[in-house]
C-alpha cells in the first residue's frame, strides 16, 4: 500500500514538486529579511514554528521526568556517598590521591568494576573541556551554521556522560548534584516559555519576539535573532540536564551510586 502511494510521487529531487514550491519558497525568500538569521532551518525552527520547538523541549523535559519517576530509587542511600564528598573538598590539587581513595572504596561496592586506564582518563580529562566549549559554540552559533540549542545541549550532556564513563558515576554525581540537574531541566524550559510569555504583555502574540525590542539594548532589526538565541540557550540547558538525568538513571538503575 505504501508503494501504491509512491506511484504518484513527484520525482525525487524535483525542484518544482508541490512540497518545495508552496510554502518553502516563502520561507526561503522572506526568512532572512524578517529575522536576520541566515540559517533558515534555525529561523523556521525557532521563530515561524517556534511553538513546535517549545513543545519539543517539553517532550524532552517529560522524558527526563519520566525516567526519574520510573527508576529513581531513594531507598538505598549509602553512607559511602558522604565519605566521598568529604574527600572531595580539595579540588585539582591532589587529584590523583582523591581518585585513588575513590577507587579503593569502589572495589568492594561494584563487583563488575575494572580499573580504568590511565590513558583513557587523562585523555578524557583533556578533551572534556574542549567538547564543552564546542557545545557552547554550537548553541551560540546556531543562527549562522548548522546546530542550535538541541545539538549543543546534547554535546554538553555527552561531555558530562563521558566524565562518568571515564572516571565513574560518583565523580560525576559529586560535581553535578541531582538537585541541580532537576532544577536546570525545569529552568531551561521555563526560559523558553518565559520569553514566549513576556511577549504577551508587551502587546504581541505568544512568542512574538519582535515585541521584545524595548527590553533589549540592541538594534530592533536584530531583535528576532536575539530572541532565538535566548530560546536556544534555554533549550540547551534543559537538554543537557535531561540527557544526564536519563543516562544516570538508566545506568545505575535509579540508585545513583554505581554504574558504568
Amino acid at each position: 500500500m505504501l508503494l501504491y502511494g509512491t506511484g504518484e510521487f513527484p520525482d525525487w529531487g524535483d525542484p518544482y514538486s508541490p512540497a518545495s514550491v508552496h510554502l518553502s519558497n516563502d520561507y526561503l525568500e522572506k526568512a532572512f529579511d524578517q529575522t536576520q538569521v541566515p540559517n533558515i532551518v534555525t529561523a523556521v525552527l525557532a521563530d515561524y514554528r517556534g511553538f513546535d520547538t517549545m513543545f519539543e523541549t517539553a517532550v524532552i523535559f517529560t522524558a527526563g521526568l519520566a525516567c526519574f519517576l520510573l527508576l529513581r530509587d531513594f531507598r538505598e542511600k549509602e553512607e559511602r556517598f558522604y565519605r566521598h564528598t568529604a574527600t572531595g573538598v580539595i579540588l585539582h590539587v591532589k587529584d590523583s590521591q582523591k581518585v585513588l581513595l575513590v577507587e579503593r572504596e569502589f572495589e568492594h561496592m561494584d563487583k563488575d568494576w575494572v580499573p580504568s586506564d590511565l590513558i583513557i582518563r587523562t585523555v578524557c580529562r583533556i578533551i572534556i573541556p574542549f567538547i564543552q566549549i564546542y557545545g557552547l559554540y554550537v548553541i551560540a552559533h546556531g543562527d549562522f551554521s548548522p546546530g542550535g540549542g538541541f545539538q549543543g545541549g546534547v554535546i554538553l550532556g555527552s561531555s558530562l556522560i563521558l566524565l562518568a564513563i571515564s572516571y565513574n558515576l560518583k565523580t560525576l554525581m559529586r560535581r553535578v548534584k541531582e538537585k541541580i540537574l532537576g532544577i536546570y531541566a525545569a529552568v531551561g524550559v521555563l526560559i523558553y516559555v518565559g520569553i514566549a510569555v513576556i511577549c504577551m504583555p508587551m502587546g504581541g502574540n505568544f512568542l512574538d519576539y519582535s515585541k521584545l525590542a524595548p527590553l533589549l539594548p540592541s538594534d530592533p532589526h536584530h531583535v528576532r535573532a536575539l530572541g532565538m538565541l535566548g530560546v536556544e540557550i534555554g533549550v540547551g540547558i534543559a537538554v543537557t540536564a535531561v540527557m544526564v538525568i536519563i543516562y544516570v538513571n538508566i545506568v545505575s538503575a535509579g540508585r545513583h551510586d554505581e554504574g558504568l
Binding site: 508541490p18 508552496h22 521563530d47 511553538f51 517532550v59 523535559f61
Partner: protein, 509 residues
C-alpha cells in the same frame, strides 16, 4: 485579553514546570501549583467557549505569523467544547486525587503532578491546534507522559503493560506522521485550513488516499478501535487510579475529536463519503468493536478491566456515528464525546473511591460494598445507568441520535449492535450491583476462594477486618467530586437539546 486561546495550553505547561521545580525545592508546593494551573486553564477554556458562542470561531496567530507560515490556533465550537471538557475533567480529577496519589506514589508525588500537568497540556494542545505537525508533537507529549504514569501503577505488570503501550503508541504516532508527510508532499502545507483548500483540487490522487488511510490507521491505533485495541485494557487497568480516571475519559475522546477534525476540516465530507467507498466498511468495523467490547467486558473478573472493555465498546459508538455520513450520526458522535467523557469519569471516580479503600477491585472482592460506601455507590449507579442508556441520564440521548442515524442510513447492523451492547451493559452492571449489594454470605468467606489466588488472599484479609458493616467512605473531596459529576450527568442529559442546538448543529452547518 485576546490571548485566552493560547493560555489554555500554556498555563498547564508552566504549572508543570513549576511543579517540577517544586520537587526539588519544596515538595508540598507541587499540588497547589498544579491545581491552580488547571483551574486557570479551565477558566480560560470557559471564557473561550463563551466568546466562540457569541462571536464565532477565533483565530490566534502564534508568534504573529500569518497561518500557512506560522502555526495558528483556530478555535471553533467543537474545539471549544472539547477544551472545556478536557480542562474541566482534568481539574476536577486533580481535586479528587490528592489522597489517592499520596497513597499510590509515596515519595514521588511532586513529579507525578508535574507529569500529570504535562499530560493535560498535551491533550489541550491537540484539541486547540490548527496545524497538522503541531498535533503530532502534542500527541507525543501526551503519550510519553502516559507511558510514565501507566508504569507507575501495578508494581508487577505496570512496566510491561507500559512498554507494550510504547510500542503500539509509537507505531500509531508514526503512521500519523507518515500520513502527514504524504499530505505535505502533495500540498506543501501543514496548516489544516490551507491543506484542505489545496486538497480540493487533488481528489483522485493516490498519494492523498494513502495519506488519509495512514492518518486514520494511526489515530485508530491511538484510540483503540477494535482490531487495534489490544494495548488499552492492560494499560488502563494497571495504571494508578488518579491517572486512569483522567486517561479513560479523556485520551480516547480527544483522539476521536482529532479524527472528526481531520474528517471534517481537512479532508471534507465530499472526499470521504463521495470519492471514497469504504465508509460502510468502517461502520461494520465499529459494530464489531461494539459487540466485541461488550462480550469481553462480560468475561472480566476485575472491575477496572471490565470498564476498560466498555471503553472499547464506546469507541465503537463514536467511530460508527462519525463514519455514518449523515448529520444525525455526526451529531450523535459529537454529543457522545461529551457524554461519554462525563460518564466514564463518573464511573471511574466511583471505582477510584473503591480502590482507595479496598486496594483490589476484583468483582469477588466487592461484596456488600453498598452498605459500606453508600455515596460512592450512588454515584456508580447513576453513571452505570447513563452508560446503559436509561432515559433521564445523558447516555440515552446520544445513543438515541446514533440509532436514528443508523436507521436513516439503513445500517441496521449498527443499530442492532448498539441495542445489544446496551443490553449487555445492563446485564453487566446489574451483576455488579447484585454483588455489591449483598454483604458477604458468612464469616468463612468461602466464596472468595475463586478469585485469582494471590489477589484473593489479600482481599480476604482485608474484608475480614471490616466484616461488621459500617460506613467506610472515601475522603470528602473524592465524594464531592463524584457527586458533582453524577449530578452533571443528569443535568447534561436534561439540557442535551440545548447543547445540540447551540454548539453541535451550528458547527456542522
Amino acid at each position: 485579553m485576546d490571548n485566552y486561546p493560547v493560555l489554555i495550553v500554556v498555563v498547564p505547561l508552566i504549572a508543570a514546570l513549576l511543579a517540577g521545580l517544586a520537587v526539588w525545592v519544596e515538595k508540598r508546593l507541587s499540588y497547589p501549583i498544579a491545581l491552580t494551573g488547571l483551574a486557570l486553564s479551565t477558566f480560560c477554556a470557559v471564557k473561550v467557549l463563551m466568546q466562540v458562542i457569541a462571536t464565532g470561531p477565533i483565530q490566534y496567530k502564534i508568534a504573529g505569523w500569518a497561518p500557512p507560515m506560522g502555526i495558528e490556533y483556530r478555535i471553533d465550537l467543537l474545539n471549544a467544547m472539547v477544551l472545556v471538557i478536557v480542562s474541566g475533567i482534568a481539574c476536577l480529577n486533580l481535586v479528587a486525587s490528592f489522597e489517592s496519589v499520596s497513597q499510590e506514589t509515596h515519595d514521588r508525588t511532586g513529579a507525578f503532578y508535574s507529569i500529570y500537568c504535562l499530560f493535560v497540556t498535551g491533550l489541550l494542545g491537540v484539541t486547540a491546534t490548527g496545524d497538522l505537525f503541531n498535533l503530532y508533537v502534542l500527541i507525543e507529549i501526551t503519550s510519553l507522559s502516559s507511558y510514565a504514569m501507566v508504569a507507575l501503577g501495578d508494581k508487577d505488570r505496570g512496566p510491561l503493560a507500559s512498554l507494550n503501550y510504547v510500542f503500539i503508541g509509537v507505531i500509531g504516532a508514526s503512521f500519523y506522521l507518515l500520513g502527514v508527510g504524504y499530505l505535505y508532499m502533495q500540498t506543501g502545507s501543514l496548516n489544516m485550513a490551507d491543506v484542505s483548500l489545496i486538497l480540493a483540487g487533488h481528489q483522485g490522487s493516490s498519494t492523498v488516499l494513502t495519506g488519509f488511510i495512514l492518518c486514520m490507521v494511526g489515530l485508530w491505533i491511538k484510540m483503540a478501535l477494535f482490531p487495534l485495541h489490544v494495548w488499552l485494557p492492560n494499560a488502563y487497568s494497571y495504571s494508578p487510579v488518579a491517572f486512569s480516571r483522567a486517561v479513560a475519559p479523556l485520551m480516547t475522546k480527544v483522539m476521536i475529536y482529532v479524527m472528526i477534525r481531520l474528517m471534517i476540516t481537512v479532508f471534507g465530507y465530499d472526499y470521504i463519503f463521495k470519492t471514497l467507498h469504504f465508509s460502510d466498511a468502517v461502520v461494520v468495523l465499529a459494530s464489531i468493536a461494539i459487540l466485541f467490547g461488550g462480550v469481553m467486558a462480560l468475561a472480566q473478573k476485575n472491575l477496572k478491566k471490565m470498564l476498560a472493555y466498555i471503553i472499547v465498546c464506546e469507541i465503537g459508538y463514536m467511530v460508527g456515528g462519525a463514519w455514518m455520513g449523515n448529520q444525525l450520526g455526526m451529531t450523535g458522535a459529537i454529543l457522545h464525546i461529551l457524554n461519554d467523557a462525563l460518564m466514564t469519569f463518573a464511573v471511574f471516580l466511583a471505582v477510584g473511591n473503591m480502590v482507595y479503600k479496598l486496594k483490589n477491585v476484583d468483582l469477588s472482592n466487592l461484596t456488600g460494598i453498598f452498605g459500606k460506601m453508600p455515596w460512592t455507590m450512588a454515584g456508580f449507579v447513576i453513571a452505570a445507568f447513563s452508560i446503559i442508556g436509561v432515559p433521564p441520564t445523558c447516555g440515552f440521548f446520544s445513543k438515541w441520535y446514533l440509532i436514528m442515524a443508523a436507521f436513516e442510513k439503513g445500517a441496521y447492523h449498527f443499530a442492532a449492535a448498539l441495542i445489544i451492547s446496551s443490553l449487555i451493559c445492563a446485564v453487566l452492571f446489574f451483576r455488579v450491583f447484585e454483588i455489591c449489594f449483598f454483604p458477604a454470605v458468612s464469616p468463612d468467606h468461602g466464596e472468595l476462594g475463586h478469585g485469582e489466588s494471590g489477589h484473593g488472599e489479600l482481599g480476604h484479609g482485608k474484608s475480614d477486618a471490616h466484616s461488621p458493616i459500617q460506613m467506610e467512605e472515601a475522603p470528602v473531596s473524592m465524594l464531592i467530586v463524584s457527586g458533582l459529576v453524577s449530578l452533571s450527568l443528569i443535568v447534561v442529559g436534561l439540557f442535551s437539546g440545548t447543547i445540540v442546538n447551540t454548539i453541535i448543529l451550528p458547527f456542522l452547518k
